[in-house]
């Protein structure tokens, strides 16, 4: 299956964006993002704390809908999903 991961703003600068991955069945949103982020230590540290938990301010979306980071470990990604990971918004 194929899942697209989009990082924005500072996370995009550190990790790139529109990353198409092919996770195994049963992969959680948290594991997916963690796996991709590990390719760049600074990018990983921007998103995850020392315990490997999402930092408090990180925002996750799955197909345009917010997923609380506390639920990301039990949210299983599906084929065709678009995952977005971004810092607090600052438009306007």
């Amino acid at each position: 299956m194929s899942v697209k991961v989009r990082f924005f703003a500072r996370f995009r600068e550190l990790l790139g964006t529109d990353i198409v991955t092919e996770p195994k069945a049963g992969t959680s949103l948290a594991a997916l993002v963690s796996g991709i982020a590990q390719k760049n230590k600074e990018g990983y540290d921007a998103i995850f704390d020392e315990q490997g938990s999402f930092r408090e301010f990180v925002i996750l979306m799955r197909n345009g809908k917010r997923v609380e980071t506390a639920d990301a470990g039990k949210t299983i990604v599906a084929d065709g999903d678009e995952i977005a990971v971004f810092p607090p918004v600052a438009g306007g």
Binding site: R6, F8, A9, R10, R12, E56, F57, I59, M61, G64, K65, R66, A84, F86, P87, P88, V89, A90, G91, G92
Partner: protein, 142 residues
């Protein structure tokens, strides 16, 4: 109703004319501008589909709460110079209290939940502008 994320600037005068729906007694325009905070330029980035969908929800909610007759929201992205328009909100209503309240509602909600980010470019590099709402951003709406 025009709700858009785009690079191009927009003709505010034309938007005001278009906002004069039957029953309009007041139009309020908010125009957010790139401020000269010792920067050279500003670079804006959006999660476009979600940003537009979120602004459409905000416009609908503002219309319902404040009896608006018309709403336009144009949020610009890309690289903008000092003095350029970033965000233009045009609302019309029968009377001024609704027009002001509706306009203000829209900008405050955009700041909270629309996935757009700004980077201030300076002589020494750049800095991402921190959001005004550290953790509320993108919260699910009722």
């Amino acid at each position: 109703m025009v709700i858009r994320v785009q690079k191009e600037d927009v003709d505010i005068g034309a938007l005001i004319t278009g906002a004069k729906k039957h029953g309009t007694g007041a139009v309020v325009v908010f125009d957010g501008i790139v401020r000269d905070d010792d920067i050279t330029e500003m670079e804006l980035e959006a999660y476009e589909d979600v940003a537009v969908a979120e602004m459409e929800k905000i416009a609908a909610e503002a219309t319902r709460l404040h009896n608006l007759l018309h709403v336009d929201i144009i949020h610009r992205i890309g690289r903008l110079s000092i003095g350029e328009n970033i965000l233009i909100i045009v609302v019309s209503a029968g009377h001024r209290p609704e027009a002001y309240a509706g306009s203000r509602y829209i900008i405050e909600e955009i700041k909270k939940s629309v996935p757009i980010w700004k980077k201030e470019l300076t002589k020494d590099g750049g800095r991402w502008v921190p959001g005004e709402h550290g953790h509320g951003a993108g919260k699910p709406r009722k």
